[in-house]
């Protein structure tokens, strides 16, 4: 092994990450176990949070503001949006803290730095799984009551959707974390940036209600097709287009690749600038 001042941009050591897979899993376990120690409700918080968000949205956007939900039950409409959006947003905000939050460990011992954001994405996947379970519970309840919803063939795309959300969250997150080692300003931007971004994503309204001339703004956001497809898959209503989804996948790939390259470039010297 050779330690050099600066290795190439494409010297990624991804094999190293695989060698440290036990560490990734232990990080996941740590995040999971430590988060709700000494709480009474414990992992129930995973469910309470999206549930309360959905209730709030239902009351404010659905009942008071009377926003359209494409004719779907309000509860299901918002819950599907919130569940999917939360996964992306959590991945993004948590991974964006990677360097600053772990400066202490990173300064003392070497392991592939990517292990940290990857473990965050995985532990969030578990949360997402639990929240998806909540969503399915309501889904079957509404189905049993004979509400006009139906799953579509797009359900087969679920693995791809999850992959896209993870890639977008991770990619954006590590780009931000790489930049924050130098420009701390970005930390503040991320805080409310994610909230603002939610309003340009069809979480609280359907894409179909956006006038055509503004639709391009929505589609510039790669999360838009993901959430629309998610809804379409389960509820049978929403905008589904292979073209939009393909565009989103392409953007996710580019963002993730750029993120990994940048992260890898920064990790070698960030200790000096953080």
């Amino acid at each position: 092994m050779v330690i050099r001042p600066r290795t190439g941009w494409f010297d990624l050591h991804l094999a190293d990450l695989w060698r440290y897979r036990d560490l990734v899993m232990l990080f996941v376990r740590r995040d999971f176990v430590s988060q709700y120690k000494q709480t009474i409700l414990g992992p129930l918080w995973f469910i309470i949070q999206p549930l309360l968000t959905t209730l709030t949205f239902t009351v404010i956007f659905g009942n008071i503001a009377q926003l359209s939900t494409d004719g779907l039950p309000k509860m299901l409409f918002y819950l599907s949006g919130v569940t999917a959006w939360n996964y992306f947003a959590d991945c993004l905000t948590k991974t964006s803290e990677t360097f600053n939050a772990n400066a202490n460990i990173f300064g003392k011992v070497y392991f592939p730095r990517l292990a940290v954001p990857v473990s965050i994405v995985i532990s969030n996947l578990i949360r997402f799984g639990i929240q998806l379970g909540l969503f399915l519970g309501f889904y079957f309840y509404f189905l049993a009551r004979g509400t006009a919803i139906h799953a579509t063939q797009a359900l087969w795309l679920m693995p791809l959707l999850i992959l896209l959300m993870a890639a977008l969250g991770l990619g954006t997150g590590i780009i931000v974390s790489s930049m924050t080692t130098r420009y701390r300003d970005l930390r503040f931007l991320v805080q409310f940036g994610v909230q603002l971004l939610m309003y340009t994503t069809p979480v609280i309204y359907p894409l179909s209600k956006i006038p055509d001339q503004y639709r391009w703004i929505m589609l510039a956001n790669p999360m838009t097709p993901v959430i629309e497809t998610f809804r379409y898959a389960f509820l049978g209503s929403g905008t589904f287009s292979w073209g939009y989804l393909g565009l989103s996948a392409a953007m996710a790939t580019v963002i993730l690749a750029a993120g990994i390259l940048l992260f890898n470039h920064v990790e070698k010297t960030f200790m000096d600038t953080v």
């Binding site: 092994m1 050779v2 330690i3 600066r6 990080f27 740590r30 011992v109 392991f111």
Partner: protein, 465 residues
């Protein structure tokens, strides 16, 4: 067997001083813009332009940069670096933490690294353990490196001891299976069996450290880097740690050991590097290196001087000017061997003759036990005869084969008998003693100290009938 496992070649690292941030975005953009147009970095100082080691830019700058003509490029695309280069001195904005450090480490060697605070030891270890990248130079490493720059890295307070063993082990590079196979050994070594399922936040700091070191000690890397971890834990545990490190070295693995504990360095390491202001000052036998280091550490704890009359302890009768601990060659040293005599020397100015004056000191062990008190006129026949007005230097010799291993403190006590104290300063100089006189095959214990506060060799004989 003795193949090179670490080869460090002209390693340098510089840090930017002062505030980072603020205008950085603007700076970065202008730098990037200049790079795009193939111009020189607009913000670099003269001679610093080559610091980044950015290979491709080298050719374009070669003509302009004086450094290139001073030191021939080793190979194309490498930043020219020479300690002789006048342009390479530290400016106000950069600091060379390391400059042109080269050395080799052979397999199975225990290499000590010593130097004063800020000399660059930690930077060197950080580069070797890949925490940060060097500015220039290269390190070639054969085998897996594990570094203990701090014990307990990544310990999570909410998790139990058991969970933390796995987490910490994985951070240090072990797989889950490896940790599981050594789990019982680790727990036994750490002596925290009863608390293994208690969250670490409820541990005492000593327990945390023991657990952390236990995990680290059971790593099995080809190369182990250790930094100052022995500064913590009680004496018995420190001994255990040193023993473990010896075992590691005995098993043919390589150890790099940074410490301020000179006794540990000399007993553990065969060879020692002295780092001074970022450069490699000496690469030699541990005993030689330790003496060199202690010599250069300036006002060491083995010697205290007062040049200013006002600050010197004492009064109108006597002013203490210096107090030092000398080895048998007459060098002030904090490191001594118990088989050699140790001299405590007083230098003072005497302004009045006072027959009842007595000059002496208390010798204390590191745990505060008063080992002895001695005055210069203890033997009445020799009382104060040689004392004269003006500067005096007197010595007290602690005989060889007398002190035990440990750290000792000297508190000068000077006074007029039954009248008043003139000087009474607490523990002002300090020295370490290594136990070297127990060469009898019965006494030669692994702990390298005898029972008791002191370890004199007394005379034994048998009475007739």
């Amino acid at each position: 067997m003795s193949s090179t496992v670490i080869q460090v070649d002209r390693l340098s690292k510089h840090y930017r001083l002062g505030q980072i941030g603020g205008k950085r975005l603007v700076d970065d953009v202008s730098r990037w813009w200049a790079k795009l147009r193939g111009q020189e970095d607009p913000l670099s100082k003269v001679g610093q332009a080559a610091l980044g080691g950015r290979g491709k830019r080298e050719e374009s700058r070669e003509g302009k940069n004086l450094t290139s003509s001073l030191s021939p490029l080793r190979s194309s695309g490498e930043a020219p670096l020479s300690p002789l280069s006048p342009l390479r001195s530290s400016t106000s904005e950069t600091l060379w933490a390391l400059r042109d450090v080269s050395f080799e480490v052979k397999q199975g060697e225990v290499l000590g690294i010593i130097g004063r605070n800020g000399a660059g030891k930690s930077t060197l270890l950080k580069i070797l353990s890949r925490v940060t990248a060097p500015t220039s130079g290269e390190v070639r490493v054969k085998g897996r490196i594990a570094s203990l720059l701090e014990v307990g890295t990544g310990f999570h307070p909410e998790l139990t001891g058991r969970e933390n063993i796995f987490l910490n082990g994985a951070i240090l590079g072990m797989t889950k299976a490896e940790i599981r196979s050594k789990f019982d050994e680790i727990v036994a070594f750490s002596e925290v069996e009863q608390f293994i399922d208690t969250p670490v936040k409820r541990y005492s700091s000593g327990m945390t450290v023991r657990l952390a070191f236990a995990v680290a000690a059971h790593l099995e890397p080809e190369i182990l880097i250790v930094d100052e971890v022995l500064a913590v834990g009680d004496a018995a545990f420190q001994k255990k740690c040193l023993g473990k490190m010896k075992d590691v070295a005995g098993a043919g693995r390589t150890v790099l050991f940074v410490s301020h504990n000179m006794a540990a360095i000399t007993t553990l390491c065969t060879r020692t590097l002295v780092i001074h202001r970022g450069t490699l000052r000496l690469d030699a036998d541990s005993a030689v290196a330790v003496r060199d280091y202690l010599g250069l550490s300036g006002p060491s704890r083995a010697e205290v001087r007062w040049n200013d009359n006002e600050e010197a302890p004492g009064d109108e009768l006597l002013r203490l000017r210096a107090i030092r601990v000398l080895d048998h060659d007459g060098y002030a040293s904090v490191y001594h061997q118990s088989s050699s005599p140790i001299r405590v020397q007083f230098e003072f100015d005497l302004h009045q003759v006072e027959p009842a004056l007595h000059i002496g000191f208390d010798l204390l062990s590191a745990d505060g036990v008063k080992v002895l008190r001695s005055f210069h006129n203890d033997r009445l026949s020799e009382a104060a005869s040689s004392m004269r007005l003006g500067r005096n230097v007197i010595n007290c010799e602690l005989p060889p084969n007398f002190l035990n291993a440990g750290t000792y403190l000297v508190s000068p006590t000077i006074g007029i008998h039954m009248v008043r104290w003139i000087v009474s300063v607490e523990s002002i100089v300090q020295f370490d003693v290594e136990f070297t006189h127990g060469e009898s095959k019965f006494v030669n214990n692994p702990e390298r100290r005898k029972h008791g506060v002191i370890a004199p060799v007394l005379i034994w004989n048998s009475s007739a009938d």
